[in-house]
Each structure stands twice: as structure tokens, then as C-alpha cells.
């Protein structure tokens, strides 16, 4: 590490050098992601239990969702993960312009995810009566399917609790992620993330990839259960 780089990087006073700070930051983020795994874990546990208790109802619920949305989100998030990873690389290489471009791209994809999720998919679900609880009454285009599974409806409602909780919690994480990206963009414009201290971009990247991974599991678990070949 050269002297002027050392001068440029602001090392917090409790650390001896940037190396220590960087590894502490990254380790802290990994630990935080562990807590996130277990935070989502409670929902996954409930999901697994009920799915095995009510397999038919779970498949029926899944068939009321639209695979196109799920597949599109997955692709969108994988793209945003790519741009995020390239952003970290740009920060490592101290390329301010390309870092900005990658962060903006990631930001747009993240925001698009949340917007489409809420404005189109959830709103559509609401219109089709898929909100669980006492008013649960599916009446979408798939009427034949709904009639077929009529006896299962209370348990299909249970599926939709988990659908809304899991995708809702995920969307909440996306919103936080978009906020973090906004902060990173501001820091980047101030030139604070391209001085060799790529740790901030890196830990936001870790978070972003984690949220992507959660979706990678949510997609098959919610949209593809029981096959789509009926």
C-alpha cells in the first residue's frame, strides 16, 4: 500500500489500517447476512411445514400465480447482480464513471422490480381476490382451476399468506437496497468510493447479491410448485 493511498483512505480511529477495516466491514456484512438468512428462515420453516401438510392446496395456490412475472423478476435480479458485481470491480479499479453507470443501472433494475411487483403483480392479485384472510375469494381468469380446488380454498389462503409475506419481506429488502444504492451514488459523486476504499461498494454489493439469492429460492418455491404441466 503506497503512502498517498494511505493518506487518501479514511481509516476509522478504532482500526490500525485499512486492511483491518476492510476485513472487519466485510465480515460484519457476512454476519448480518447470516441473521437475514434466519430472519427469512422462520418464514421458510412455516412454508415447508404447511406445504407438506397441504401439498394440493400449495400447488393450487402456485398455479394462481403468473410464472411470467416470477421468471422476469429472476432475470431482472440476475442482471442487476451482474451490474452490481461489475460496479464493485469498477470501484476496485477506481473508475468513477463506470462505477456510476453500473450503480445507476442496478438502481434502475431494483426500482423497476419493486414498481412492477407492487403496481402490476400485487395489484393484479388484489383484483383477483387473492388477498388471504376472511375475504379470500379467487375469481381470476383461471376459474376452472379455482372451481376444481374449491374444497382446498382455506388452505390455498394459507399459501397466499406465505406468498405475500415472503415476497413482501423480499420487496422490503429491495427497497432498502435501492436506498443503499442511492447513498452509494451520492458518495461516488463526491469521489469517496474510488480512492481504493472499495469496501462500501463491496458490502452493499454483498447485500444486493444476498437479496438476489433469496429471490432465486422464492421463484421455484412460489411459482413452480407441483409443475406447470396441468
Amino acid at each position: 500500500m503506497s503512502a498517498e493511498v494511505h493518506g487518501a483512505i479514511l481509516v476509522a480511529e478504532q482500526f490500525d489500517d485499512f486492511e483491518q477495516q476492510k476485513s472487519a466491514d466485510a465480515f460484519g456484512m457476512w454476519l448480518f447476512l447470516v441473521t437475514e438468512v434466519l430472519f427469512f428462515g422462520g418464514l421458510f420453516c412455516g412454508y415447508c411445514l404447511y406445504r407438506n401438510v397441504y401439498p394440493e392446496a400449495w400447488a393450487a395456490g402456485s398455479h394462481l400465480l403468473k410464472v411470467q412475472y416470477g421468471a422476469f423478476y429472476t432475470a431482472l435480479l440476475i442482471c442487476s447482480s451482474l451490474t452490481m458485481a461489475l460496479g464493485v470491480r469498477a470501484s476496485q479499479l477506481r473508475l468513477k464513471t463506470s462505477l456510476t453507470v453500473y450503480l445507476v443501472l442496478t438502481w434502475i433494475m431494483g426500482a423497476a422490480f419493486v414498481y412492477i411487483k407492487l403496481r402490476y403483480e400485487w395489484y393484479g392479485d388484489y383484483l383477483e381476490g387473492l388477498v388471504p384472510g376472511p375475504h379470500f375469494a379467487p375469481h381470476g381468469e383461471n376459474l376452472e382451476l379455482i372451481n376444481h380446488f374449491h374444497a382446498l380454498l382455506p388452505h390455498v389462503s394459507l399459501f397466499f399468506i406465505f406468498y405475500f409475506c415472503m415476497t413482501g419481506l423480499h420487496a422490503l429488502h429491495m427497497v432498502v437496497g435501492v436506498g443503499l444504492l442511492t447513498a452509494l451514488l451520492i458518495l461516488t459523486q463526491q469521489g469517496k468510493t474510488t480512492r481504493g476504499n472499495y469496501n462500501w461498494v463491496e458490502i452493499v454489493g454483498l447485500y444486493w447479491h444476498f437479496v438476489d439469492i433469496v429471490w432465486i429460492f422464492l421463484f421455484p418455491l412460489l411459482y413452480l410448485i407441483g409443475g406447470r404441466y396441468v
Binding site: F18, L38, G42, I78, R94, G205, H209, P220, G227
Partner: protein, 113 residues
Amino acid sequence: MSEHVHVHPKLFYVKVFLALIVLTTITTAVAYVDLGIFNTVVALVIAVCKASLVVLFFMHLKEQTGMTRVVIIAAALWLSVLIVITLSDRFTRHWFPSNGPWEASAVTAPQSQ
């Protein structure tokens, strides 16, 4: 500083990205083929593969210290403990014979005094 940082070429990330897109396509396509129970198995295996790709290459787990790996394994292990044990309760309850014919003879209740 930068000599300590291992910077991957762009192509490296693009390859991972392409692999992820391919796997997404496969998992979606497989859902339309009737494989019975294996639909779920395939979907989960592909999801685990995709997650591993992201963790290993996008999140640079390969360059992290051993401790980070321990942390991730611990998270996965603890999550599986939670899920497996919880489910094992629910789905082994009915294995237990509710009536024991041997009990009738085993418990010779003393008569009233």
C-alpha cells in the same frame, strides 16, 4: 493497495451471469414437464446451484478467509436444523402406535383397597 486486490476480468462476471440465465431458463422449462416428485427436486437443486454461483463468484466467497466460509455453512446448517427438526415432529407423530395391546398386560393395576 491495488496489488493486494484481485480484480477479475469483466468476462469472468459475464460468464457467471450467462450461467445463471441458462439455469433460470432450465428451471422454468422443467416446470412444464411432468417429472412427478422430481419437479421439486430439480427446482431446488438448480436453485442451490444458482445461489452457489452468486455466493462463490459475485460475492467473492472464494477469496474470503476460511472464517467467512464457516459462517455461511453455519447459517445453512442452522436453517436446516430449524426446518428439519420442526418438520420431523409433525411428520413422525403418527408413526407412534396410539394403542399398545401389550400395555393391558404390562400395567397390572392394583385393585382398590
